[in-house]
Subunit: 413 residues, 2 copies
Amino acid sequence: MLAKSSTELVRQKNSALVLSALRRHGPLAHTELSDFTKLSSATVSVITADLERAQIIEKAEQQAASGRGRPRVLFSQRRDCGYLIVVVISSDAVQYSLVDYTGRLMDRFTEERQQSVAGVDRFVAGLRDALNRIAARSQLPRDKVLMISISSKGLVDASEPVLRWSPIFGRDEIDFAAVLRDEWSAQIILGNETLLVAAALGRQEDIRTRGNFRAMAALSLGHSIGLGIVRRDHEGNHQISAPNFGHMMHVPGGGLCRCGARGCIEAYAGFYAILRTAFDVPLDTIPAKFVPIAELDKIAVSARQGGRRNVLAFRQAGLALGTGLSRVLSLHERMPIVITGPGVRYYDLLIEGMTEGLAESHVVRMEGMPELRVIVDEPTLVFEGHLNRALSIIDNHIVRRGAAVMELRDRAS
Amino acid sequence: MLAKSSTELVRQKNSALVLSALRRHGPLAHTELSDFTKLSSATVSVITADLERAQIIEKAEQQAASGRGRPRVLFSQRRDCGYLIVVVISSDAVQYSLVDYTGRLMDRFTEERQQSVAGVDRFVAGLRDALNRIAARSQLPRDKVLMISISSKGLVDASEPVLRWSPIFGRDEIDFAAVLRDEWSAQIILGNETLLVAAALGRQEDIRTRGNFRAMAALSLGHSIGLGIVRRDHEGNHQISAPNFGHMMHVPGGGLCRCGARGCIEAYAGFYAILRTAFDVPLDTIPAKFVPIAELDKIAVSARQGGRRNVLAFRQAGLALGTGLSRVLSLHERMPIVITGPGVRYYDLLIEGMTEGLAESHVVRMEGMPELRVIVDEPTLVFEGHLNRALSIIDNHIVRRGAAVMELRDRAS
DNA sequence: GATTTTTTTCTCGACAGTCGAGAAATTTAG
DNA sequence: CTAAATTTCTCGACTGTCGAGAAAAAAATC
């Protein structure tokens, strides 16, 4: 309750409403826009005229008349209104994608990252390089790139695009804004990978349940463990957050984690932890930097054939996840949990422990087991999350900029 | 992003702004209102005129002119605009307070609750009775009571005034709206006690830091353990939530808790749990319903003199709290923690364990120890929280109703 | 005591935004 | 070729905010 309201703000909000309808449902006619936004036809006229003048949207050449009556003219977003570069940093590679304003993929390549050289400086140099390359290949003027959206596993600052801690670079922070400021005028945003998964799921669920969506958690299983939570606030906006779940305390004084602390959930449920338990290595052994998935597959095969030690390894991982999730539910509310990431292939081995870990807690006893869903294709969700988040931020900027433009025009006259 | 915006909404928001300025800073003159709200003088005129016509605010008889120039006329809230009944349910008593629209206490009494008869029906009958009594004593017409704000320890539904679980009534739910609907037209709201503490602290902190406030947690120590979290969202509103902290899993398969589950934080840090450890009673003993504080004081005295078993009891409680808090911080962000409730008198004995429990976790290693503050007077905070929450909801209703009134007027003409 | 200064409140006209109603446009059906 | 249907556009009414300046009222000054 700080900011006063004004008629300009009203216009901004309603313009944003129009843009988001267009983003969600593709090209729309005047009438449809009016239906979706609940704005009157007259208002839609004014807003679309404004946006058209600002070159944000355009009238599609009118399609063959489909019914009788005056044929509808469709408004659609202008592809060339601006561009977005998506950077997905994973443990073994970095993927760069160029996307236009409508969300269409225009170019993409992947740079392998050598495990050996993990220096931040090296990485940053590679990043600058690759960004320059993707921009050059597209032959777009640089200032047409409105945003660079980056994701990584690890701990991300809440307000600035700073990577505080990551499984790859440890405590060597990276301030992406500082690093890219001199070369790019684009806005830089950074998000935890699983946060973006949650963002994508939240939108899917919102469409699926037609607005009855409340909250949802995304759990990503892999070498490290990620959690993203998406909730609808009282105004209908989606609040996404990426708790530091993988490094939440599981057992005080427990197994040594990659982060240097002891007893983190990841130190029980991460790939390296499962390996450690399976081979009965002492819990204070320094974790492996990288575990080929084939190694884990072998353990899984053995576990599925009843290998005791290996069954136990997955069970313990499941327990750590289940107990951790029960704690999450205690601190929030009951919500469905979507499980994704490379680790879902062991879901059959993990589920028993997870269920047990969940079942014991007061929340679950009270409100029942949360719904658990499995989604295999994580990379797609991550990319979708990038688009959702970045493009809707761009839309918001545009409507704000619109106001600024009007102001300039007024001052000129 | 569902609702469209309109000029009426602008008026509502700005009216709310005026009311909240008046609530925060007491009677204000036209100019001051304009300063606080950043609204133009003209707008303030229109809004105050409206509110005055609707009998929400009034011009105070002008005070002795203090400087030169036209003397300022102060606007103040009208006391008789509406009333609020606050019901604070604690383990041994229920306190009823009647408050006017400005937040001034008008009447208050306390009903002892016998420990023996804890039937929900009995309790509800007593509640209806007491509410009738406080209304009768004030001689106010019933429809002037706009809201009944109830608080209890335990688990409260997020959207409806339903007590899902409480240390007093266990799983016997109470739907306060259903119970009071036939006798009261007032809106019924229910909040967890520590949630209200957090609400009060949030407002205090917001004023203290002049808007730089981000987030804060309130931890209430007593027979049971409560946690409230208050955060400022991107729009500056305070989001308060009451996680089920006391019954978050501390140790799987651990000590038996009053809730029936095993290993809850409360089963280690609640008064009964401290007693249990101190007397070396098996952890699966059914917890005492009530522990006189004198009992705990004795243990504390002995602990302060070095009694090993008793030191351990408090240390274990502290550890449970510390580990639990570290988990909360993992799932949210770093925030100051205010400790309150009857248990703070043992803070000296708890702090060591708490610090240790906190220190081990990844978040604390990364971001440092959170600030811990102690506030002794919990009941005042609870009452303040009631007022903050209830009165600001009332203000919001009023500005909405204002619009409805205009509509009626229009339809009549 | 009359005039000026200062401070506060009120009022007026301009402007931005939304809305409902109906006009205009444009196609199909008959 | 006319009528019906459907979509888009335009106009006037209304609400809300704002800046500027008028009006009010007391203190300071002559």
